[in-house]
């Protein structure tokens, strides 16, 4: 059914809100360019700042992956143009080992933290929380502004580390000691590593300030009638994401502080019995595994910090666009909660081959495999939401369905890796790379794209170009599978990750053509992402204008605000909520917004 028809069907609801607009104070202070667009305390502007910074980082991180894919796909070839751009890092047009490791490290760091943590939850938590729970702004707009600017400082420091003489950090995004703890361990362990640590410390502060605000706002600032169980699932997902962040980032911080002491003050928290660069170090009694424990106690929740907001948005988008209530709302909330708890109890599955006691490992296997239960519940509910729905295949819907597909394929390989015995074979192979890129990386990117296509009209008052959106979806979807599916086979055959040149390993020669194919596809997929970036910026200024207040026929409160809401969101009173967010296809009506009072003869089924 077309959107226009929806709008006419419920004209009464809309005028009901319009009445409020002129009767109340206008919530605008005098705003200069600086307070409106730069040091803004408006949650919507802060959300856009997070998004655009995230997009810039995604381009850098994506470009880096193309560069190291060139090396993996065409190790025998030279690319003189690389020397033009990168000088000594690509001497003779060949990517040097130090450069390769720097690329991989920064690719991982940037995409995990700056794009999929800050860019994803930073954007949509800020944009959606006050709009969907019915609040004028966050609990503390000032802390919220600080949250962005700490992220900005972290970004500047990380970006500057790309240009230092010895190059950026190169010890992998996990920065395990001793590689990361000893300056003499390599080029990338010098000033680049220090900048990495300082940047991450700033980033942690940013995440904590943001997370505090998200939780306080969701729990305390809901409008009248918005009980917890009436909240859209996006809000539940962001709430659990913020709780995970607030409880896990401090542990990373404590690990990083100990690392800083080891690096610069000569302590031995992580260091013991080391002979490096012709020199015996005095450090004794330290344990490198201790860092892994601290890191992964944070690192595993981080995976869900990335994934949960995508899950929440996908739930909302699938329900809205299949014109059906979400299937199993409470089960969705319960499974989010279960994932949130389990996220803290499985960290050692990243450490099966570190000499972990196998008896202890068995418990971590069990707890890890338990995550399959809430995950399966969620997948079942998404599919049943789509089942016999009146689906509108907008780009947002397609990306949401793509998310479900990727989450299934990537989740199933998690069962292999979660078993400690199979992990002995698969650990540190391309299988791991394939698994986490599909289930966490690409899936969450899909969730983010879905969110951008869905809420772009709310952000900028214009639509993204849908034709470009469809091209974006299909190329990315097919490309993602073409890139990562073959890596499973490589991993099963034993191809290790983190190696820049496999030519001497004759048994892997059979994968040469496959590697070339993966590289070519990743270049195409990267080009299509640039097309999306073009679409994004072009549409901000030239996109098709949003004419109606509620273009998707959605129930949630953000669509009761004006098309271009000012600071304070609602010009009049904040609407009161009378029902949950998923009254679609009820009593013969296509949708009933949350702000509409319950009718006298309304059925009680939902």
């Amino acid at each position: 059914m077309s959107n226009d028809a929806n709008m006419h069907g419920h004209a009464g609801v809309i005028t009901h809100h319009e009445v409020h607009y002129d009767e109340h104070h206008v919530h605008h202070h005098k705003e200069t360019f600086i307070t409106k667009y730069v040091f803004s305390q408006d949650h919507k502007t802060i959300g856009k700042q997070f998004l655009i910074t995230g997009i810039i980082w995604a381009i850098i991180g994506g470009l880096f992956s193309v560069l190291f894919r060139l090396q993996l796909g065409f190790p025998e070839q030279t690319f003189p143009i690389l020397e033009t751009f990168f000088g000594k890092w690509a001497k003779g047009g060949v990517i040097q080992p130090e450069f390769y490791y720097a690329l991989v490290t920064i690719h991982g760091t940037v995409l995990v933290f700056f794009v999929l943590t800050a860019g994803l939850s930073g954007t949509f938590a800020n944009l959606l929380i006050p709009l969907q729970i019915g609040a004028r702004d966050m609990a503390s707009p000032f802390l919220n502004m600080l949250s962005y600017w700490f992220f900005f400082i972290a970004s500047v420091i990380m970006f500057s580390s790309l240009f230092v003489h010895t190059g950026p950090a190169s010890g992998g995004w996990t920065s395990y000691p001793p590689l990361s703890a000893l300056h003499q361990a390599g080029q990338g362990s010098k000033i680049g590593m220090d900048l990495w640590l300082v940047s991450m410390a700033m980033f942690i502060v940013s995440s904590l300030l943001g997370g505090l605000n998200y939780i306080a706002t969701i729990l305390n600032m809901r409008t009248k009638g918005m009980s917890m169980t009436r909240m859209p699932l996006t809000m539940w997902a962001i709430l659990f994401t913020a709780i995970l962040g607030v409880l896990s980032f401090p542990v990373l911080l404590s690990g990083a502080i100990l690392l800083l002491f080891d690096r610069n003050l000569g302590t031995s928290f992580y260091l013991s019995d080391i002979y490096v660069a012709g020199q015996i170090l005095p450090n004794e009694g330290g344990s490198a595994i201790l860092f892994q424990h601290l890191f992964w106690f944070f690192g595993h929740p981080e995976v869900y910090i990335i994934l949960l907001p995508a899950m929440g948005m996908v739930s909302e988008i699938l329900s809205v666009n299949s014109r059906k209530p979400i299937f199993g709302y409470m089960a969705m909330v319960g499974s989010l909660f279960a994932i949130c708890i389990l996220a803290f109890l499985v960290w050692a599955h990243h450490m099966f081959v570190t000499g972990l006691n196998p008896f202890l490992g068995a418990f971590f296997v069990l707890l890890t495999l338990l995550i399959a239960v809430p995950s399966a519940i969620k997948v079942f509910n998404w599919l049943t939401t789509l089942w016999r729905g009146n689906i509108r295949f907008t780009p947002a819907t397609l990306f949401a369905i793509g998310f479900v597909s990727l989450f299934i394929s990537g989740g199933l390989t998690g069962l292999f890796l979660g078993n400690s015995t199979i992990d002995i074979h698969l650990h540190d192979t391309k299988f791991v790379v394939a698994h986490f890129h599909i289930v966490m990386g690409v899936a969450s990117m899909f969730g983010m794209f879905a969110g951008i296509y869905q809420w772009f009209p709310k952000m900028f008052g214009r639509f993204l170009n849908h034709t470009l959106g469809y091209i974006h979806f299909w190329v990315t979807m097919v490309g993602a599978y073409l890139i990562f599916w073959p890596m499973h086979y490589e991993g099963l055959a034993g191809v290790p990750r983190r190696y820049l040149d496999l030519r001497d390993w004759h048994s892997f020669n059979k994968f040469d053509d496959l590697n070339k194919m993966i590289t070519v596809v990743s270049i195409i997929v990267f080009a299509v992402q640039l097309m999306f970036v073009f679409n994004f910026f072009y549409s901000i200024f030239k996109g098709r204008k949003v004419r109606t207040q509620n273009p998707w026929g959605s129930n949630t409160l953000e669509w009761t605000t004006p098309i271009n809401p000012g600071h304070g969101n609602w010009p009049g009173e904040i609407p009161e909520v009378h029902r949950w967010a998923y009254d679609y296809a009820k009593d013969g009506r296509e949708f009933i917004p949350q702000a509409e009072p319950v009718g006298a003869n309304e059925s009680k089924d939902h």
Binding site: A139, S140, L143, L208, G211, L212, N213, I215, A216, T217, L219, N220, M221, R222, K224, G225, M226, S227, M228, T229, R230, V246, L247, S248, F249, P250, V251, L253, S254, G255, I257, L258, F261, L265, G266, T267, S268, F269, S272, P282, N283, E284, G285, G286, S287, L290, H293, L294, F297, V577
Partner: protein
């Protein structure tokens, strides 16, 4: 469902609530550090440390400061602004004394040969953990100074007690955190 939704709202001031979550977050950081300590203490080459006497005095100081800030809060609520200012100043001074005493303890340890370089042990953890705690006290003391300046020179006379309540809660928290850390270092060998 209707009744629940009405009652849930605005029970607690958002700033206070934010503080409680921040406290949870800080607890996680120290939980990370103290569990790292436990893991390491079970490994070979672990060197124990005798905590200097002076930390007992700092414990007394911070306990006393908890008392004074509670009394300050009480005076504020009773509108006795003079006594409030005095008690806040006393609290701030006690906080400063605490930090000086901690520094003193660190110096004693350092001079007794427990330093950063070389063999791992409880001493290195003590510097990091107590040092981070002292930073949290320092942050509180700076906030106290800001509040004091407002109390003495501020133009606006506000009787909303949220700010001072948040301050007092935080101050009690760093106090209890200190007791935990101190007992931890005495007990876990």
């Amino acid at each position: 469902m209707e009744a629940v939704s009405m009652q849930q709202r605005k029970k607690i001031h958002p700033h206070k609530f934010t503080l409680w979550i921040a406290i949870g977050s800080i607890i996680m950081m120290f939980a990370g550090l103290t569990s790292a300590y436990i893991v390491k203490s079970g490994q070979p080459n672990w060197q124990d440390v005798k905590t200097p006497q002076v930390f007992w005095y700092s414990t007394a100081t911070i306990l006393l400061s908890s008392l004074t800030i509670q009394m300050a809060l009480r005076s504020f609520k009773q509108r006795e602004m003079n006594r409030y200012r005095q008690l806040m100043a006393v609290t701030m001074i006690l906080g400063a004394v605490f930090i000086v005493l901690q520094w003193n303890g660190f110096m004693q340890l350092w001079n007794s040969g427990i330093q950063f370089k070389g063999v791992a042990g409880a001493g290195q953890f003590l510097y990091v953990i107590f040092g981070l705690h002292a930073l949290h006290v320092l942050g509180g003391a700076i906030a106290l100074i800001v509040m004091l300046i407002k109390a003495f020179f501020g133009q606006t006379k506000t009787y909303a007690s949220t700010g001072i309540e948040v301050m007092a809660t935080y101050w009690h928290f760093v106090d209890i955190l200190w007791i935990y850390l101190f007992v931890f270092f005495i007990w876990i060998k």
